[in-house]
């Protein structure tokens, strides 16, 4: 009988050290390396967007806004929005964790179209180049929403360059989504039936449907804006009878589903983390699957809730309001199922679970305030105030970024083969949670009191809350920088992790860490459900115990 390989030895030849040249990274077709290319790029964009946010918060300490001119401030929040939405949040979990994990989770050697996968990164970078160019030569002041006719006629800023950047970026999303869909359909290992797929794969599958079906609408919408601006062929131009509101309809037809592009993958990560650290089967697996698909589907039918005060018909408003309430159902199913999975699990409070719990708390607050915003009457009161800003930052930052970081910690041993410093990481998660709430909770109150978004001059009575919010930013910043530092350190000097440090189920943990180039020496055959923690040897005792009680 041969001994199992020493789990503490770093796997000899793996995807990281197999080839060492620079070209082997920039021309790689390996989904794992492409994931790391994305990781580096989006970390850069995150820092860029983060700096803009810091500058805005510093400006808002003072009610008279003395640091920047109004134009500069407008450019700052546009930069922050555009970069964070398209160049960080949308690619974050799909392109980093999704790229790395989907083939491993379904038991494949790579994506269906490895070359297309690499092309999508280059396309992403080309889009980023246009965006950075637009920022460097003068910036854009329209806000990330590019509302016409301001963006098409009146703004004196680099709208076309930015629109081109986002247009190109969209094709990177489309290629990624296409690749994910075909990969999940066609490359599942023997025995990996649809209802044995990890929930992370299901959420990314749902996300990919949105990538493929919503992104082209944004592409054509921005093209129309650019044509109107560049050649004076005014499709949204009210002077010749065009309708600027048509832009809003088209824009939100993409941009509401885009919210789910950002949050569905986050939900997938949370399902994985909760199962692994509660050591339990995911409660109501099928419900969670249908909830993911349901959210993706309903997401296409609610765009009008961004336009309640735009003058759209009251009846349209009522229908959009009702449909928006429906989204709460699959979302709540997920939250309840996570809670039920934790219930009677044997929980260990490692860092990934702390992020997951943070996600549930913040996502719930963000979701509940979303219901307030979906109510027609309340929305009239808080439209375009800081209440909206607080709401979507609870979902996007409190939700999506928390999950992203939780996932990065959880799969860090797989990606690098090493462990991160656990105590430091727990503190970072806690600091992040505190900093986040300090920064964004005051915005709910500010917005409810009537402070409009996108203004840097405000009445004196709002100063206290703005001040608290700004105090929260450096705390939040530390919460982000700490992982950047210790994860960077641990990638080289952390203690060796071994193939499965969390003792988790899932095919990705059946490979050495870091995995070899083609993931599996032999394509695995799947015989169990995805979260078979009850079948692990350790579980036998626990199971017995609960039975006796």
């Amino acid at each position: 009988m041969t001994l199992p390989p020493d789990p503490k030895s770093i796997s000899t030849v793996n995807y990281l050290n197999e080839e060492k040249t620079v070209a082997s990274w920039f021309f790689t077709h390996d989904h794992k390396r492409i994931a790391l290319l994305y990781l580096a790029s989006i970390t850069f964009f995150f820092l860029l967007g983060g700096v803009a946010a810091m500058l805005m918060r510093i400006e808002l300490i003072h009610p008279r806004g003395e640091l920047f001119t109004s134009t500069t401030y407008n450019k700052l929040f546009t930069l922050h929005g555009v970069i964070m939405v398209w160049f960080f949040l949308i690619p974050s979990i799909p392109n980093v964790l999704g790229n790395f994990l989907i083939p491993m989770m379904i038991g494949a050697r790579d994506m269906a179209f490895p070359r297309l996968n690499l092309i999508s990164w280059y396309v992403f970078m080309l889009g980023g180049l246009f965006a950075v160019f637009a920022i460097l030569v003068g910036g854009v002041d329209t806000g990330w929403t590019f509302y016409t006719p301001y963006s098409s006629t009146y703004s004196n800023s680099w709208v076309i360059a930015m629109a081109v950047g986002i247009f190109i970026n969209g094709f990177s999303s489309i290629f990624t989504g296409l690749n994910f869909i075909v990969t999940v359909h066609k490359l599942r290992a023997p025995g990996m039936t649809w209802f044995r797929l990890p929930l992370f794969v299901w959420t990314l599958y749902s996300t990919s449907l949105i990538f493929v079906l919503a992104t082209p609408v944004l592409a054509i919408t921005l093209t129309l804006v650019a044509l109107e601006r560049g050649f004076g062929i005014g499709i949204f131009d009210p002077r010749i009878g065009g309708d600027p509101l048509l832009f809003q309809h088209l824009f939100w037809f993409y941009s509401h589903p885009a919210v789910y592009i950002m949050v569905l993958p986050a939900m997938g990560v949370i399902s994985e983390l909760i199962a692994a650290f509660a050591r339990n089967r995911v409660f109501g697996y099928n419900f969670v699957v249908y909830a993911s698909l349901g959210i993706a589907f309903l997401g296409f039918l609610v765009w009008g809730h961004h336009m309640f005060v735009s003058g759209q018909s009251v009846y349209a408003g009522m229908i959009f309001s009702l449909l928006s309430f429906f989204v709460a159902i699959p979302s709540a199913i997920k939250v309840f199922n996570w809670t039920a999975t934790l219930y009677k699990g044997s929980i260990t409070f490692d860092t990934p679970l702390l992020y997951a719990l943070g996600f549930i708390a913040l996502f719930t607050i963000g979701g509940m305030t979303g219901l307030m915003l979906a109510s027609l009457a309340v929305d009239v009161h808080v439209t375009a105030t800081y209440f909206v800003v607080a709401h979507f930052h609870y979902i996007m930052v409190g939700g999506a970024v928390m999950a992203y970081l939780g996932g990065i910690h959880y799969w860090f041993p797989k990606i690098t083969g090493r462990m991160y410093p656990e105590t430091l990481a727990r503190w970072a998660a806690i600091i992040l949670f505190i900093g986040f709430n300090l920064t964004f909770f005051p915005m709910f109150i500010l917005g409810y009191m009537g402070m409009p978004r996108r203004y840097h001059v405000y009445p004196e009575e709002f100063q206290m809350l703005n001040f608290i919010s700004t105090i929260g930013t450096p705390v939040l910043g530390i919460g982000y920088l700490l992982p950047l530092i210790y994860l960077g350190w641990a990638s080289f000097f952390g203690r060796l992790a071994g193939p499965n440090p969390w003792n988790a189920t899932g095919l990705e943990w059946q490979t050495p860490s870091p995995p070899p180039k083609e993931n599996f020496a032999e394509i695995p055959v799947v015989t169990t459900e995805p979260y078979a923690y009850h079948l692990l040897p350790e579980a036998a005792g626990i199971h017995q115990e609960t039975h006796d009680r």
């Binding site: 494949a108 269906a112 989504g177 296409l178 493929v212 054509i220 129309l224 005014g234 499709i235 010749i240």
Partner: protein, 216 residues
């Protein structure tokens, strides 16, 4: 014609030809779903403005050369037919017929662009190009301008897709002609055939919307 199917080299991570073919075609179908939504944004705009400016749209459509639209439809559908035959020849590994049919398809596609280009050109002379030079005598000149905005953007986007298709035909055709391989690689032609069929179908919607909407 050789009866057996042409051989397709396997790309990583595929291990079986049938599996690879299915996946390639499936990927193209997904991409076409994207394209439907891309054009869908413009069709939505058309629907909205046709509803709010229906009279102006009818007046504007009277200035369209309906016979050129008909001619283009004929040309494009014929190219679709030759492309479908080309795909079949690629699958059977008949390189001579494949190259011949691709050439015909290419010429027909280029003819389409030529006719469309002639139409664009004549619109300039009639001051029907949106922008500062636009002039239209009618009940709602703005609405008619919107018709031509949509005409130019939608047919323009369609022509761009045609152009991409022609480039691909040229590239794959030349590649096949000079490749040392005995037979053609059928998958790429099947995928290209799907794309070309999609471009045809988009035109089948553009044609009535821009040439046939006015009562005679």
């Amino acid at each position: 014609m050789t009866a057996e199917a042409a051989a397709e080299p396997l790309n990583f991570p595929f291990k079986e030809a049938a599996h690879q073919r299915e996946s390639a075609l499936f990927g193209m179908w997904i991409f076409l779903a994207t394209e439907v939504l891309f054009f869908g944004g413009m069709f939505t705009a058309y629907t909205v403005y046709r509803y709010s400016h229906w009279q102006a749209f009818q007046e504007a459509a009277r200035h369209q050369e309906w016979y050129l639209g008909c001619l283009n439809t004929l040309v494009l559908l014929t190219s679709g037919f030759t492309m479908a035959l080309a795909v079949e020849c690629a699958r059977r590994g008949n390189r001579g017929w494949l190259l011949g049919l691709l050439t015909i398809t290419w010429v027909l596609g280029a003819a389409f662009l030529g006719i469309e280009g002639y139409e664009y050109h004549s619109k300039f002379g009639e001051h029907l190009v949106p922008g500062s030079g636009f002039h239209f005598d009618g009940t709602d000149p703005g609405g008619s301008e919107l018709f031509f905005v949509l005409y130019f953007t939608m047919t323009g986007m369609h022509m761009f897709h045609m152009f991409v298709g022609l480039m691909l035909i040229l590239f794959f055709g030349v590649w096949t002609r000079f490749s040392p391989r005995e037979t053609a690689m059928p998958n790429r032609f099947e995928v290209l055939g799907l794309y070309w069929a999609f471009v045809d179908i988009v035109w089948l919607f553009l044609y009535p919307l821009f040439y046939l909407v006015h009562p005679r």
